[in-house]
Symmetry: C2
Subunit: 249 residues, 2 copies
Amino acid sequence: MPDRLKIIGSYLSPYVRKVLACIELKGLDYEIDPIAPFVGDDRFSRLSPLRRIPVLIDDDLVLNDSSVICQYLEDRHPSPTLYPADHADRARARWLEEYCDTRLADVLVWRLFYQLGVKRHLFGEDTDQATVRQAREVEIPAALDYLESQLPDEGFVFGTLSIADISIASFFRTAAFVRYAIDAARWPRCAALVAQVQALPVFDKLARFEDCMLRLPLAEQRAALLSAGAPLGSDTLGTAKPRHGLRRE
Amino acid sequence: MPDRLKIIGSYLSPYVRKVLACIELKGLDYEIDPIAPFVGDDRFSRLSPLRRIPVLIDDDLVLNDSSVICQYLEDRHPSPTLYPADHADRARARWLEEYCDTRLADVLVWRLFYQLGVKRHLFGEDTDQATVRQAREVEIPAALDYLESQLPDEGFVFGTLSIADISIASFFRTAAFVRYAIDAARWPRCAALVAQVQALPVFDKLARFEDCMLRLPLAEQRAALLSAGAPLGSDTLGTAKPRHGLRRE
């Protein structure tokens, strides 16, 4: 009997959320070390050479990068499939995932969530309002314009739920932590897709754990997560002082 | 009979080199629009929403991102295989590719090749010597230390040639354009792997085309590439003034 999967990473990260959604949808046994964002000691650096989350530990395999991890989970546990069977669709799904991991990450996570949430509350630094304004008025609309051109009128992007849907919804969930919502009148396809995916039981379940972290100080989160049913591991790497440098994966 | 594959992208880009190496190794029919780095008009923006190279056009499929393209080529044309069969090895190969695409890109392409080559010769701007010094003395050695810990004493990373070997060699080839060479006494595995891969006929063939672009002014490159046997397409998107923003893919 192999060990259960272990994930290191915060419930607040869209990259961690992608991986957890895949693990939950595939019904795999796992535990999580919900390391706080931007926290992690030297043991963490050894597991994640770029100091990024999530990290997957599967027996003696230690994996970095959410896209690599999701594809590994698909290879290893192909049912239910989360990548389209058609080669062209599968490639387009991976491209949409990459678009989220880079462009949505830039505009939603680093220019919005980081500025309005992490920078202020974790590091005690001022928000750069010009960056936030440029993101809200120019960069996020441009990204939504592109996504809107790629999405269907209704349903999931490739018919059945795939990594593309999971990725898009994961990033907009982190943006919602700082009260960003898609204007459904301007981008109806994007708004409908995100609402549909975030209404799935798996996203609803993860949202309960995310809420524990958002609402409570660090010292109270572990107990709250446990009573909400989060599969916490016994170990934690999150003992060091927060520091910059835990970026995208 | 489907159209031949079309690639848009410069021979000098490590991301383009990865894709061309896969196409050549799989023996596929293709043509290239060798768009100059940082050049590209609005038609290019429509094909590549993030204004990155390479772009693959396969009939009516337009694909961005070198990792997505290489995986698509593997799915569509599985022989010879360039991804390890074992799930864990395949995941590790993809991780090493990602490490190259992000970390080697930062330190070898953006802090070295861009500063010493592109910025000076294409944009007529000064090299930031402090950035180059930090890259040479601290950041590149740190990346090589990590890679050295991941590579075997001899041979390819996973026994037979894979996307991991192709990626590592592709990035160090672009670094070589500004005379960077790995210190074989300090990082013997990295130096041996890169030398072994770059000695393959496919890298040798691509190097002839790269040399045309390095040695000649833009106006003379097309004729030189044609006489060197490069499969140039009839169209070109590279008519606009160079501008910043054509980054990694």
